[in-house]
Every structure is written in C-alpha cells, then in structure tokens.
C-alpha cells in the first residue's frame, strides 16, 4: 500500500484504444483538479508573487505590498548562500548513503529472499515500521542516543574513540545521519519494487557468458534496476533538501548546520519576512524542478504516477 505510493508505478497501463471517451471522465476529474488548482497551484503562484513584494511604506512589521523587487532574490542569495550550499550538500550526502545502505537490503529482500515470501513480508514491514512512529520522535530518539550524556557517547569517550570534549549532536555528521536514517525507507521501497521483478535468468545468462559475480552486478543488475535507483534517489533527495527538522537545534542540528528549510521557517514564522521566505522557497523549488525534468525526460510522463 505505502509501497505503491512510494515506488514508481508498476501497474500496466492500458492502451488508449482500450479506454472509453465520455463526459463522465470530466465529471470525475474536475473536483480533484479544481481542488489542487486552488490549494496547490494558486499557493505556488502566491509564493512567487510574495517573493517580489516590498515592505509597505510606513506599514507595520510584517506588512508587505506587491511590487517587482527582484533584489529580494539577490538579498536572499547573498545572505543565505551557505545554507543553500549546505542543504544540497547534506541532501546529496544523505541520498548517497541511503543508496549504498539500502541497495544491499533491497537486494536481499527482493532477490535473495524470494523463496520465502513470509520473510519478505516481515522484512518489508520492518522497513516501513519507522513510518508508524512520529518522524519527530524517531529523530529525537537519535538525538538522545547521540547526546553527550548518553551511554553510547560516554562509552566512546572512555574508549578514546572520541575526544573528551567532542560532540556528536549539532554536527554535520548527526544531521546527515538523521537525514539518511529517516529516508532509508523511501530509498529501499522503490529499489525493492524494481529488484523484486528482476528476472534472475538474466543474472544466470551473464554468469554463463563468463561474467564474474562483480561483472554481472555492474553490467546486468545495476542497469536493470536503474528505474528503482532513479525513483529512490528522487524520493530521498527532494524531501531531504527541504528538511529542517533534522537540522534544527532541538533535534540533531546545531548553530552551524542550518539548512534552507530552517531559514524559510524562520523567515515565515518568526521574522515575518515573507518575501525572503518566499524567494528562498522558489529557489529551492526551481532546483528541484530541474532534477524532476531530468527524470521526466528519461522516463516519460506515463511512468510518473
């Protein structure tokens, strides 16, 4: 169920000739589409407009008027470019680690464990189980496990693995760790879906044709599991880039680990500098759209849903 949503759709799409043409289609589509136009598209337009606003003359703190203040973007970039770079850096790192951690897991569940469907089901349940506990609480759990007074950290310090005054929380390490952990299910499930359908006869053919296990993996398995890799990468990178929970001070972050998300939140909810927050959001969205358009070009729009 969650699997279906979090993976690229494997449903065979019926050809257009098998479909009916009917006004009923419009009736079914309209309510949902209208809703999304109203509450998804318009807000994005709103955001775009807000990003160009200027502080109202003689207005209150938090009051803005419509304008075409392009400087908002320049301001935002000069002020926050470290955060921008950092966000994408963290997101890329988390995506990379999530990929190399999840791939063997997905391979085991999807390929090696095929003979034991019960084991497969159990393993999959364990992969999505973290979703059933609040995102915040599981991040908090790691914070406490990595906190200075925790059993783990004190032991590591006692064994001289860590310097006595070192911190684990509040570092890039803990933020990336948190991001990786939280998005492993997002990476594992699409990988699993693709690998589950991998025909092992291709692997046998590869071996029959003198390819060592390493070569079979590189030349056959990886290319054939590419759809899952791409889907998992997208599903991990996009939310990771915009995340701010992991990086916030109450959780795994510190003063030097603030990401775009934190800054947007601060601008919107604390500083009430809506144009700045909006400009940052648009910037973030644009970068994401570049990635998405790459993906769409590669796989076509039928595969999207």
């Amino acid at each position: 169920m969650a699997l279906a949503a979090l993976s690229t759709s494997n449903a065979p799409t019926s050809t257009d000739t098998a479909r009916k043409s009917s006004p009923v289609a419009l009736l079914l589509l309209l309510p949902g589409i209208l809703y999304l136009v109203l509450f998804f598209l318009t807000p994005l337009v709103s955001l775009l407009l807000t990003s160009f606003k200027t502080p109202t003359e003689f207005g209150d703190f938090g009051e803005f008027s419509y304008a075409f203040r392009w400087e908002n973007y320049a301001d935002v970039i000069t002020t926050y470019w470290p955060h921008i770079i950092r966000s994408f850096g963290y997101a890329l790192a988390a995506t990379f680690f999530a990929l190399i951690i999840s791939y063997p897991l997905a391979y085991f569940i999807g390929v090696k464990a095929r003979r034991w469907p019960l084991l497969q089901s159990l393993a999959l349940v364990m992969v999505i189980a973290p979703f059933f506990i609040s995102f915040l609480l599981r991040t908090l759990a790691w914070k406490q496990i990595f906190s200075d007074e925790s059993f783990l950290v004190t032991s590591l310090k006692a064994m001289s693995v860590l310097a006595p005054d070192a911190h684990v929380t509040g570092t890039a390490f803990s933020v990336i760790f948190g991001l990786t952990y939280n998005f492993i299910p997002f990476m594992t499930l699409p990988l699993y879906t693709t690998l589950e359908r991998l025909d092992v006869r291709y692997l046998e053919a590869g071996s029959d044709l003198y390819a060592s296990p390493f070569h079979v993996f590189r030349k056959v398995t990886i290319p054939l599991s590419m759809p899952g890799i791409v889907a998992g990468t997208l599903l991990t990178f996009i939310p990771a880039a915009g995340d701010y929970i992991n990086a916030s001070r109450e959780f795994l972050g510190g003063t030097g680990t603030q990401m775009i998300g934190n800054v947007i939140e601060a601008n919107f909810l604390v500083l009430q500098n809506f144009p700045a927050g909006a400009a940052l959001s648009i910037l973030l969205m644009s970068v994401i759209l570049v990635f998405v358009s790459f993906y769409v070009k590669k796989s076509g729009t039928e595969e999207l849903l």
């Binding site: 279906a4 509450f39 999207l304």
Partner: protein
C-alpha cells in the same frame, strides 16, 4: 553461486540494517515506561503510570493534540480519498486530452518539498486574509494526500479486468449499478490502502501543519514545541500505542491476504 561463508554476508547485513532501523522505535517504546518528571531524557524508573494516565499531563495537552490530529486525519482522508479515487478511475478507464500534462500536474505535489508547500499555503491564506485554524490544516492535508491516493488507487484499478464490468453491464444494465455492485467492491482494497496511506501522512505531518495551523495543536506540533523544554513520557505512550495499532493492522492485512491466497490455491 557464492562461497559458503559469503552466502551469509548479505542476510547478516540485512538483519543488522533492519535492527538499526528499529532502534528509535524501541527507544521510544521503552521510554514510555519511564517515570519521568518534566523531561524524558534520563531513565529514572519503570512505571505503567504514564500508560494508565495518558491524559493527565499538562491539563490533557497530549490528548488534546492527539484528538485534533485524529480529527484532522479522518476528515482530510475522506476528502482526499474521494477526490483521488475519482481521478484515478478517470485516468485508467477513460480517454481524454492532456493526459500527460495531468500526470505531471499530479506528480508535482509529491515532488515539492514540504517547506515550499507549507510556505505557499501560508502565503496564500495570508494574502486572502484567512486566519489559520483547524480548517486551514484540513485543507492543506487534503491537498498533499490527493496525489498519493491517485497512485495507490490507480495501481489497483489497472489490475481490474474490464471484462468483469462488461459482464456486469450485461447483468445489471445501469452504469451506476455496475459501479456499485462490481467495480467498487473490487476497488475497495486499493481504496482502503490509499485511505490508510492518506491517514498516516496526515497524522504524522509536521512541516506543512506548522506553517498553517496558527494556534491549533496537533500531535507532531506538540512534540516540536515540547522538544525545547522536555517531552513528557505520555507523548511516547501515544506514539507507541499508534505504532502498535498500525503494526497490528498491517500484519493482519498481510496475514489475511496470504490466507486468502492459500485458500484460492487450494480450490484450484
């Protein structure tokens, strides 16, 4: 064919990985039994108190937050599932122009980072002058769930044999009857799965909610706010209870599915 030791590397790694995935869950569960005072960081002693008196702390703040979250999740799930199912049926069964554009349009909410969605809605509500309260939260949750519902139901609709509906038309005549008696029951598992997904997404949502809730408390928001001064163990209790319930549901679905498959196999 692997060398006999090499055969165990992958299963061992997988077991380890899955175990590490479970750590925060175990941690949360264990600490729900902690006889904590204000903050639940240091282990004091074991108690069932928190489980038995969940709603006592902070004048029932935890339970109020939980109740709000449930209410919001239920309403937004009903709305999102209805709208999304209609779209899914239309996309699979009917022919219309702008199909690929629609696919792209439905994909975008899933591809947009939550900060952007939340900020956008907040900006919009601000511009219109709508105050942020329960309604705005529900509207927001419905919005981001629709696309997920479409994906989940679409997968199910595509597995339906159109021949069944044609046979139904033979028997029943009216399209409505066919839908009620044949299509809908067959779609039900997919719709339920989509509803479950939508419910889970809404219940656990924080970022979008944070931007659009004003002073209304939801469970994730409560945790965020309490994180600064100390999260009471009662929150762990609620989270653990939800986890156990969700686990039971998922396992039941899997087991009953497997049992049904077995029965069908026996009949053949």
């Amino acid at each position: 064919m692997k060398h006999s030791i090499g055969k165990w590397v992958l299963p061992a790694y997988s077991a380890l990985a899955l175990l590490i995935l479970m750590i925060p869950i175990g941690y949360t569960f264990v600490y729900s039994f902690n006889d904590s005072l204000k903050s639940n960081i240091v282990w004091r002693s074991f108690t069932f108190d928190k489980w038995l008196n969940v709603c006592n702390v902070q004048n029932g703040a935890v339970c109020e937050a939980f109740g709000n979250s449930i209410f919001i999740a239920v309403v937004s799930t009903v709305a999102a599932t209805t709208l999304g199912t209609m779209i899914a049926i239309a996309m699979v069964r009917y022919r219309f122009k702008f199909r690929s554009q629609l696919s792209l349009f439905l994909f975008l909410p899933m591809a947009t980072p939550e900060v952007v969605l939340g900020a956008g809605l907040a900006a919009q509500f601000l511009s219109i002058g709508v105050p942020k309260d329960m309604t705005t939260i529900i509207l927001a949750h419905t919005m981001f769930s629709i696309s997920f519902v479409v994906v989940a139901v679409k997968a199910r609709v595509a597995t339906l044999d159109p021949a069944l509906e044609e046979a139904g038309r033979d028997l029943y005549g009216s399209a409505l009857q066919v839908f009620l008696r044949i299509t809908f029951p067959l779609l039900l598992p997919g719709i339920l799965a989509a509803a479950l997904l939508s419910f889970a997404l809404s219940f656990d949502d924080f970022i979008i909610t944070n931007f659009n809730s004003g002073s209304v408390s939801t469970f994730p928001k409560y945790i965020w706010i309490s994180a600064a001064r100390g999260i009471p163990a009662e929150a762990n209790v609620v989270a653990s209870a939800v986890f156990i319930l969700a686990l039971v549901i998922v396992v039941t679905v899997q087991v009953s599915g497997a049992a049904r498959a077995k029965r069908l196999a026996k009949m053949n």
